[in-house]
């Protein structure tokens, strides 16, 4: 029933009714990647010796953090109990709200989804967000209860929860343990028998959905496609329906998950093409690819553009790394068009870039990739949301950086973005979560109980969430709360810009926006923190938080009291001088505030702090 992997180009003209295209949606850690590994392994798609954990997550960062960022696909051959061999195309999707856009386009390439829920944990916030997207994409959904082997597994309770919270029939849920391999066969059979085959017309003009694209250093731009109608062939002249650009196909192929060239891809299939494109910017995700000579009449419905919602400044710790940062951002952008950057200059931090991200996780991932893949030591300023400033003149300006805030007397009103957040939390921590949401100006939308877990839905200003909300959420719930959100429009708010002054000079990188009611507290917190972080120096240093000219918080760092080498004779002089030379060198990493020089590391630490 399980057949050996094909060792050369597999058949491509698979009848539609033998194809199943599916994705897996799950909360983080509920076992999505392990199940994917197991499906690949049990059908012999990858030889055992080539198996590594989380086959589909190709970036280190994906594998380590258990998240998937780029869409990935793998073609699995499965001989079902009905005796037929099916082609199962697994589309792996990102599981996080920041990548909702990527999720939606991946889902659009499939007809069904496996909903994986941890049988001991139950439904979590991400489960919900992702499954709703799958439902929106008209997917047939097969619930799968994972980790059924755990003593804490409660399959009946979790099935009930799936029915109560999501409204899906869970009576036929497949109970498995991806870890031990228990009942993987059941999952494969469910894919074949319960998910619909794709539809399409082999004789119609070529129509393929551009699902994703990335840059490969050997092949150039690689495009992940889902064929709707017609065929894609090597040598074919194709046209991008969004802009009419034409290319000649160099190669078409499938993922096993290694890239294997084939002669052509037919309707219902997933695979890739390369066509001598130079940059990912030449491709537009959601575009329709057709045949240049025999084009389709209508394009597939596309996707709307993803817009950055969180911005922060990224600066090299070593000013000499600025060029390296520019190149690195350019390279990352090649593969991630959702991320934006523009040059800016900070008095405290020097030359850097203002960068826009889809969300906090996206920000964190880009930052981590910059440090890991490009070996850059970076400082990130506090994340800021995009404010809309309604000016007295009637114009509306967008504010990405609090430091750029215009004179408040020119502003009629400030609007801030809101989110709708869903939190799942065990009963005993609900009180703390509600208090947290209320502190953050949250408005309760819904509060329901599912067994011993509560689901709270809140509207919250995004501004309050980018500032240490995750960490607080985790700490007040001892790690048991799960959280997800969707953007929920803009609303006017009483917001002020708080400036931080060190030795009476403003530190642009530390200025931030806050609701007037929280301004004093936030100002005080950051002054206290800076007092801890800035080492005592020769001179005492005043630290202030101010709204305009009004000081709302103040701390003073006293002068250091003693710092002198006890013994210094003829033999010590070289060592002392070299130490001094090093200190002078280290001053390059210092920022001058009047006669006081603050080590950049203090600002970095201040920016890293979350409370």
């Amino acid at each position: 029933m399980i057949q050996a992997p094909p060792d050369r180009a597999p058949m491509t003209d698979t009848p539609l009714n033998r194809i199943r295209n599916f994705s897996i949606v799950a909360h983080i850690d509920h076992g999505k990647s392990t199940l994917a590994d197991r499906l690949i392994q049990s059908t012999g798609t990858v030889a055992l010796r080539d198996m590594k954990e989380q086959m589909l997550d190709s970036m280190d960062i994906e594998r380590e953090r258990g998240i998937t960022i780029k869409a990935q696909t793998v073609r699995i051959h499965y001989k079902a109990q009905d005796g037929e061999t099916y082609v199962l195309n697994l589309m792996d999707t990102p599981g996080h709200v920041d990548f909702a856009y990527e999720v939606s386009r991946s889902l659009a390439a499939c007809e069904g989804s496996l909903l994986v829920v941890d049988a001991s944990q139950g439904v979590e916030a991400q489960t919900l967000a992702n499954v709703y997207q799958a439902i929106d994409a008209n997917h047939e959904i097969v619930p799968v209860l994972n980790k059924i082997d755990l003593p804490a597994a409660e399959p009946e309770r979790v099935k009930q929860q799936i029915e109560d919270v999501i409204g899906l029939d869970a009576s036929q849920a497949v109970e498995i343990s991806a870890k031990t391999g228990l009942n993987i066969e059941g999952v494969l059979e469910a894919i074949v028998t319960r998910l619909p085959p794709p539809t399409g017309d082999a004789k119609a003009p070529t129509k393929a959905l551009l699902v994703d694209s990335w840059y490969d250093s050997y092949l150039g731009v690689v495009i992940l496609v889902r064929i709707k109608d017609g065929h894609l062939r090597k040598g074919q002249k194709i046209r991008m329906m969004s802009n009419g650009a034409t290319y000649t196909v160099d190669q078409v192929g499938v993922f096993t998950p290694k890239m294997v060239p084939v002669d052509s891809l037919g309707p219902g299939e997933m695979g890739y093409l390369t066509a001598a494109m130079k940059t990912v910017a030449d491709t537009s995700v959601g575009d329709t690819i057709t045949d240049d000579r025999n084009p389709a009449a209508e394009a597939l419905p596309g996707f709307k553009d993803s817009i950055p919602v969180v911005w922060c400044g990224l600066y090299p710790v070593d000013a000499d790394d600025f060029d390296k940062l520019r190149d690195a951002l350019g390279k990352l952008r090649l593969n991630d068009s959702s991320f934006h950057y523009e040059q800016e200059t900070s008095l405290a931090l020097g030359l850097g870039y203002r960068c826009g991200f889809l969300g906090l996780l996206h920000l964190e991932i880009i930052q981590e990739r910059l440090s890991r893949e490009f070996n850059l030591e970076l400082i990130a300023t506090a994340p800021s949301v995009v404010y809309k400033l309604r000016m007295n003149s009637g114009e509306v300006e967008e504010l990405h950086n609090p430091a750029d805030m215009p004179d408040p007397t020119r502003i009629a009103a400030i609007e801030e973005p809101w989110i709708k957040a869903t939190v799942f939390v065990p009963d005993e921590h609900l009180g703390a979560i509600l208090t947290l949401c209320n502190e953050r100006r949250g408005q309760q939308v819904e509060l329901t109980y599912v067994g011993t877990r509560a689901m709270a839905v809140y509207r919250l200003p995004l501004n309050e969430v980018v500032f240490d909300f995750y960490d607080r959420l985790k700490s007040v719930s001892r790690g048991y709360a799960s959280f997800d959100y969707v953007m929920d429009g803009y609303a006017e708010s009483d917001l002020v810009k708080i400036s931080i002054l060190v030795n009476n000079e403003p530190v642009d990188a530390l200025s931030f926006m806050a609701h007037r009611s929280a301004a004093d507290k936030r100002g005080r917190q950051i002054c206290e923190k800076l007092k801890e972080l800035i080492p005592r120096q020769l001179f005492k240093i005043p630290i202030q938080a101010a709204i305009g000219g009004r000081v709302i918080a103040r701390e003073t760092i006293s002068a250091l009291s003693k710092d002198v080498t006890a013994k210094c004779y003829g033999g010590d002089i070289s060592r002392k001088r070299k130490l001094l030379d090093k200190q002078k060198e280290g001053k390059k990493k210092m920022r001058q505030f009047g006669k006081v020089e603050i080590p950049q590391s203090a600002f970095i630490a201040a920016l890293k702090m979350d409370a």
């Binding site: 003693k562 210094c568 004779y569 033999g571 002089i573 070289s574 001088r577 001094l580 030379d581």
Partner: protein, 383 residues
């Protein structure tokens, strides 16, 4: 002509002290005195031949433990130095000694060899502290040694280490008063610092003990100057206290950025000749150094010419340790660089305003407030 100061390093100790990062070595099997005597004499002759005749103001036998030297080695080296150079009539000849009975028994012989000033490594007058510091003598030994040395040497200094783990200001004041009562004309009073490569460094990093907090150490430093002043000993350098005129002339040569020869394993040397400052460092391993001297006449492993900017920094970092401060004209002469290119004018103004520096009769002086923060002040002041 700038007079020379001559430093001679004896690298051997009876045991290694846990706080000491000086170039010292323990040789269980004994030391080949004849070999090291010959090597020191040969390296001295080698340097003297290169330099030519110059006035010689001081000799200092440091270590290691130079009181473990044979008196005839000391005598031979002093005689050689007098032969190579024009010794000042009142040339200061200092020898560091440990207050163990074996070594104090040799003090008279050292005096006969030409030593006219002794510096005793007393370190503490507290029994427990002496154990903590790994010293081989006890407090009564130290007192006996001091009394003996006072009778032999016209000039005498000794060292104490304070701001030890758990030490309170009151206890230190009491110990210091006892020491001042025993003192002659000079004391070196060091706050305990933890140096890389020492046993204390490892223990401290492991959390085995903690030093007093910065503010407490600062208070103890002030208390020290106060107590010493009461006995007529002025803080003429960060850690050195003397009656007027009793300052260590040899060490003043370092702090005034004068010319000094460094002979022996690990010794450093600075000599300004024809407008260039030559810096020499010698091999630290005693036997390797000796072998090199035997082969080449000297054991130098690094010989560099310092840039004017480096010289300026060295002159300042040494000079501001002194209560007399620096004379800008002398710094310029020693550095070969204008004072304005050595110090940052704006920061100088700020430091003067803050009361960390002051001008005294044309000399730039770090006030006591400035001196106690000197390591933080220098990178701010110097360009």
């Amino acid at each position: 002509m700038e007079p020379l100061a001559l430093y001679l390093h004896w690298p051997f100790c009876a045991s290694k002290c846990p706080y000491c990062d000086f170039n010292s070595h323990v040789r269980e099997g004994g030391v080949d005195h004849a070999r090291f005597r010959a090597a020191l004499r040969r390296e001295l002759a080698h340097e003297a031949a290169r330099l030519g005749r110059r006035p010689l103001a001081s000799i200092f036998f440091g270590g290691g433990t130079p009181s473990l030297m044979e008196p005839e080695t000391v005598a031979a080296l002093i005689a050689d130095a007098r032969a190579h150079f024009d010794a000042a009539p009142d040339m200061e000849v200092t020898l560091e000694a440990n207050p163990t009975s074996v070594e104090t028994d040799k003090l008279r012989a050292f005096a006969q060899a030409g030593v006219n000033r002794a510096s005793l490594g007393v370190q503490s007058l507290d029994a427990e502290a002496l154990r903590f510091l790994g010293r081989q003598h006890d407090a009564p030994h130290a007192v006996a040694a001091l009394e003996k040395a006072r009778a032999i040497f016209p000039r005498l200094s000794f060292d104490l280490i304070y701001a030890r783990p758990g030490q309170e200001e009151a206890a230190w004041r009491a110990e210091l008063r006892q020491a001042l009562a025993l003192a002659a004309d000079h004391l070196s009073l060091y706050q305990l610092t933890i140096e890389p490569g020492t046993r204390f460094f490892t223990e401290h990093a492991r959390g085995a003990f903690a030093l007093p907090a910065e503010d407490d150490a600062a208070r103890m430093y002030e208390a020290t100057a106060e107590e010493a002043a009461r006995h007529g000993l002025a803080a003429y350098e960060v850690s050195n206290y003397a009656k007027p005129g009793a300052e260590s002339r040899h060490n003043l040569a370092y702090w005034r950025y004068g010319d000094y020869l460094g002979i022996g394993p690990g010794a450093h040397q600075r000599v300004l000749a024809e407008g260039e400052m030559h810096a020499i460092r010698r091999h630290r391993a005693p036997e390797e150094w000796a072998a090199r001297v035997e082969q080449h006449g000297h054991g130098a492993v690094e010989s560099t010419t310092l840039t004017p900017a480096e010289r300026g920094r060295e002159a300042m970092l040494m000079g501001l340790r002194l209560a007399e401060g620096v004379d800008p004209a002398r710094v310029e002469a020693r550095a070969g660089l204008a004072f304005a290119r050595i110090v940052d004018a704006a920061m100088l103004t700020a430091l003067l305003e803050e009361g960390y520096l002051e001008w005294v009769e044309g000399r730039l002086v770090a006030t006591i407030e400035g001196r106690v923060r000197l390591d933080a002040l220098l990178p701010v002041l110097l360009r």
